[in-house]
């Protein structure tokens, strides 16, 4: 019952945040909306016992990434707001078509689909997916260690690439 209440609350706030991201004409509001969504999703993670991921979500996403976003927003101008006129021809029609198709698809699957989220005969064992640091670290450093190393390399390259891109070469003139 607690889960259901939390889900409803968090779903509402997540969707509200997401809508804010899309609708807000000023990028700062978009970033605030995104912050709300990220927190809501983090709460849902906790409800689903994904403790480590929830923590990382808050620290990395809400903390680091969003701060970065805000910095860049400030860098390129906070006060710029975007007009709502659509410049590209047919863009709205195409997007509308896609959105309609997706709604129909998801709705159709939900309503008419014969869909078992949980395989028949199995029960959810909360202990198996209790995402403590220790529990997540075990597969991460055994089964997925190669991917882990690769990700580390990717991060290093990304950091170097960001420096190279953002570095402003002052020409002698």
């Amino acid at each position: 019952m607690v889960e259901a209440i939390l889900f409803v609350l968090m779903a509402i706030s997540a969707i509200a945040g997401a809508v804010t991201v899309v609708v807000a004409r000023n990028a700062v509001y978009s970033a605030m909306g995104l912050l709300g969504t990220l927190f809501s999703v983090a709460v849902i993670y906790v409800v689903q016992l994904a403790h480590l991921v929830a923590a990382v979500q808050v620290i990395v996403y809400a903390g680091a990434v969003l701060t970065l976003f805000l910095f860049v927003i400030m860098l390129i101008g906070v006060d710029k707001s975007e007009s709502r006129d659509e410049a590209l021809p047919h863009q709205r029609a195409i997007v509308g078509g896609i959105a309609g198709a997706m709604v129909l698809l998801v709705g159709g699957v939900t309503v008419f689909g014969d869909f078992d989220w949980v395989p028949a005969g199995s029960t959810i064992n909360a202990n198996a997916t209790n995402g403590t640091v220790e529990a997540v670290a075990a597969p991460l450093f055994t089964d997925w260690v190669l991917a882990f190393e690769a990700t580390a390399l990717l991060l290093t390259i990304a950091a170097a690439g960001a420096i190279a891109l953002a570095h402003h070469r002052r020409r002698p003139s």
Binding site: I94, I98, L105
Partner: protein, 628 residues
């Protein structure tokens, strides 16, 4: 010294490279001096290296410089034997004199240094040709002299006729080169090598008469092209568009003799092909007569000499076809002297007459140009075959050898004799029209003797023309002994042994020459109106001669015009609509397709995103509804 003979090629080559790249920084006449010195050095080297041959008895030596393609016997190697030595000495000796002359003749030309760069390259190429130790290298030189000839004939390429003449020379020569190339392929098939050493020693054992005849005739096709014989001689008269030193050097003294040299070098193969020898001799004899008659009717001073060259080359070819190789090479040498002299003299005259070449507008030049006149006179007597000058001994030796063969060759001897008469006529006609009689100059022409740098070579060449014949008189056969080691295994045709017969034959040819000279003198020493009426009286034959029997027009109608038509058809009716059409069609197709799908690439990332998402949705629908 033999090992260093490659320097004879290397020095002019180096001179050419030097002048090509740095010549423009040198002030006139420095490039000419450098080039002349290079050729002179070559001459000295060759002379030193030839000492053993002068001493007598020494055999040829092959000097290997670099293994180029050993598998087919095509190395950079030099065969240094008396034949090569003699050719080298002629090429470098006469070449050096002509270089010196050209310093004066080309004075003031804006591409002075370039002229000498090519001239040096030509000497180097000709030496590659005559010094080659195998047919591959010979072919290399053969093509190189063709190239130099093209460059030099077209030296004044801004003149349309010069460019056309250069092209004509090159293309006609290519026809002959094709024959030589096929002949070389046959040689390689038969022997598995192109090396002289590997061919001549085994020719007897490896070649059937048929194969030898085929090779000999294919070689002769090349000779016909390069040495300007019937039917490919047409390029040589046109080649007179080049500067006169070029005409002297290439189209009289050296390059055109390459054919004679090739036959002499390949004597071992011709030896096995009597039919080919008869063909060669016949073509030579008829060319001699044919060109001599044309020479009679020419008005252009250089064209007379051009046809005279063809005629004299005919003599040489007749000689080598009769297997009188020594006589042929002897005539090659004396001819190199007096023809170079004639051309240089003509150059001196043209120079003096402000580039006027029409003999009808000359006359009376002897008083103005003593040196040129006297030296040209010597050359005229020499070519007409009057003793004791060069032409007499060599021409007489050829005719005597042809006579001695007897049978069919007696007929060729008669042709040769008639040609000797005509030669005397047209040469005397030229001399009289240019130097004697009353002046018929255009307004404003002030003839003057040429500078020392031009007359000195004339004097030296006149001296050589006078005494050059004494190298191989029946009394003292020096040249024959000199060349002996090169023709050891070859049966040579000789003049008759009996002295009285020899004297009779000699007397006949001298009489023929004298009659020709006499007839011309009687005719052309008269006032202009008289001999013009006389020439008019010989119509229409005279016009035929003047227009060279219309052979050029004939070739133009039968070969050039259809060729051009064919080229036009292939170009405009096949290539452009079909081949180009196909290529362009493919291009248009791709362009059309591109234009059709191009609007898809709007350049807006949000469009791409929408399409990407739409694609995802489609795949999802397919998976959920259709696929699963």
């Amino acid at each position: 010294m033999t090992e260093l003979i490659w320097l004879a090629i290397a020095v002019p080559l180096a001179g050419s490279v030097l002048l090509h790249f740095f010549g423009r920084f040198l002030k006139e006449p420095l490039p000419g001096v450098i080039a002349s010195l290079a050729v002179g050095t070559s001459f000295v080297i060759a002379l030193t290296a030839a000492i053993p041959f002068f001493e007598g008895g020494a055999h040829g030596e092959t000097v290997l410089l670099w293994e180029w393609m050993p598998a087919i016997g095509a190395n950079i190697e030099i065969l240094w034997d008396p034949l090569a030595a003699m050719m080298t000495l002629i090429v470098t000796g006469v070449g050096a004199l002509i270089h010196v002359f050209a310093i004066g003749y080309m004075h003031g030309d804006e591409r002075f240094h370039r002229f000498f760069a090519i001239l040096n390259l030509f000497i180097a190429s000709m030496l590659i040709l005559v010094l080659a130790g195998n047919y591959a290298m010979l072919f290399l030189g053969w093509e190189l002299v063709g190239l130099c000839s093209y460059l030099l004939i077209g030296f004044w390429f801004r003149r349309h006729s010069a460019a056309a003449a250069a092209k004509k020379a090159f293309i006609v020569n290519r026809i002959g080169d094709l024959g030589l190339m096929v002949g070389l392929m046959l040689v390689f098939t038969a022997f598995g090598t192109l090396s002289y050493a590997g061919i001549f020693d085994r020719a007897d054992a490896e070649l059937t008469t048929g194969l030898a005849t085929a090779i000999a005739l294919l070689f002769f096709v090349g000779v016909v092209g390069k040495s300007a014989q019937i039917p490919l001689y047409v390029w040589l008269p046109d080649a007179m568009e080049g500067p006169t030193p070029v005409s002297a050097l290439i189209h009289a003294a050296t390059m055109v003799t390459a054919g004679v040299y090739l036959i002499a070098r390949s004597a071992a193969i011709y030896e096995l092909a009597p039919a080919a020898q008869v063909t060669v001799a016949t073509v030579g004899a008829f060319t001699a007569l044919w060109a001599a008659t044309i020479a009679m009717g020419q008005r252009d001073i250089k064209r007379v000499l051009a046809y005279s060259t063809i005629s004299q080359l005919g003599y040489m070819i007749l000689a080598v076809g009769t297997t009188a190789y020594v006589a042929g090479l002897f005539h090659l040498m004396t001819h190199a002297f007096f023809k170079a002299l004639l051309f240089l003299g003509a150059g001196s005259v043209i120079h003096a007459m402000n580039d006027e070449q029409d003999m009808y507008k000359m006359g009376g030049l002897f008083k103005k140009m003593k040196v040129t006149g006297i030296t040209m006179g010597i050359a005229t007597i020499a070519i007409a075959g009057i003793p004791p000058l060069g032409g007499f001994w060599s021409k007489d030796e050829i005719l005597a050898a042809v006579f001695e063969r007897g049978g069919y060759f007696s007929f060729l001897w008669v042709i040769g004799l008639v040609t000797a008469l005509i030669t005397g006529f047209y040469m005397a006609r030229q001399f009289i029209l240019v130097f004697l009689g009353k002046p018929r100059w255009d307004e404003g022409v002030q003839p003057h003797e040429s500078p020392r740098v031009m007359t000195v070579p004339l004097v030296i060449l006149a001296l050589l023309s006078t005494i050059g014949g004494l190298t191989n008189t029946p009394i003292r056969l020096s040249l024959e002994h000199f060349l002996e080691p090169a023709f050891e295994s070859i049966t040579l045709a000789h003049p008759p042994e009996e002295t009285w017969l020899l004297v009779v034959i000699a007397a006949l040819s001298v009489i023929a020459g004298l009659v020709g000279i006499g007839a011309a003198s009687v005719n052309y020493l008269r006032p202009r109106e008289d001999w013009e009426r006389w020439e008019g009286g010989l119509e229409p034959v005279w016009s035929w001669w003047g227009q060279a029997y219309g052979v050029d027009e004939f070739y133009g109608r039968t070969i050039v015009a259809p060729g051009k038509r064919l080229a036009e058809v292939t170009a405009f009716d096949i290539d452009i609509p079909v081949i180009d059409g196909a290529v362009n069609g493919v291009g248009r197709l791709v362009r059309g397709l591109g234009a059709w799908i191009r609007p898809l690439q709007t350049g807006y990332v949000r469009n791409y995103g929408a399409l990407l998402l739409a694609g995802t949705v489609v795949i999802l629908i397919w998976l959920l509804v259709g696929g699963a």
